[in-house]
Amino acid sequence: MHGAKGGEVMTSDPSELEWAIQTLVKNYDKYSSRGGCCCCCKKQRGISKGGFRKMLTHELNHMLTDTKNKQAANKLICDLDENHDGQISFDEYWILIGGIASPISCLIRQQEENVKFTK
């Protein structure tokens, strides 16, 4: 087994954290570029409602429960869609992922504390 990647500055390969960020960016691009946007349109339109639901079921089905629940997904979109254009922009997408990550982060911290106490 190798040690954790990314401890030292690398010139070529991305670090693990960089890979993670790029994966999240690529995931956004994967779901946002599809849809009715014409090819000449350079501006990305964001993730549509359908694309967003697809993303929840395909990419986040272990972290979120009941990802096929259309109503819940639609509500999530409404909550996220700050400018109400029916599209999830990159910023809105990032807020969503952060919203998922934050409670997990708390859980991990709690688990670590518990491990310490039981040792």
């Binding site: 030292e8 890979w19 960020i21 790029q22 990159f90 992922i97 991990i108």
Partner: protein
């Protein structure tokens, strides 16, 4: 660095790439949040994290120094996970648009 934080979860094989990515971002936060209140990063810890873990993407976080100064004392101030996440968002935007537009 003797950090094993990224290998904590045994079940990571069944996770999607997106989920693994989320885990990695979280784990890096905990890996560096070691001083004082452990659910927060100090500005110095954040600087280390960005410098060591984001050697290529750090450009996207160009305003990091300014941001850190706004937070307050380098060893005392606390950064919540949400603020860390925002900064990672800046890095992400930096790698989306080469030559980041304002």
């Amino acid at each position: 660095m003797g950090c094993k934080c990224c290998k904590k979860h045994q079940n990571s094989e069944e996770l999607t790439d997106v989920e693994r990515a989320i885990e990695i971002v979280i784990n890096n936060f905990h890996c560096y949040a070691v001083k004082g209140r452990k659910q927060c990063l100090t500005p110095n810890e954040l600087k280390d994290l960005v410098g060591q873990r984001l050697p290529h993407l750090a450009k996207g976080v160009g305003t990091l120094d300014e941001k850190i100064e706004c937070i307050g004392d380098a060893d005392e101030a606390k950064l919540q996970f949400g603020e860390y996440w925002d900064i990672m968002g800046d890095a992400a935007k930096g790698c989306r648009v080469p030559g980041k537009k304002k």
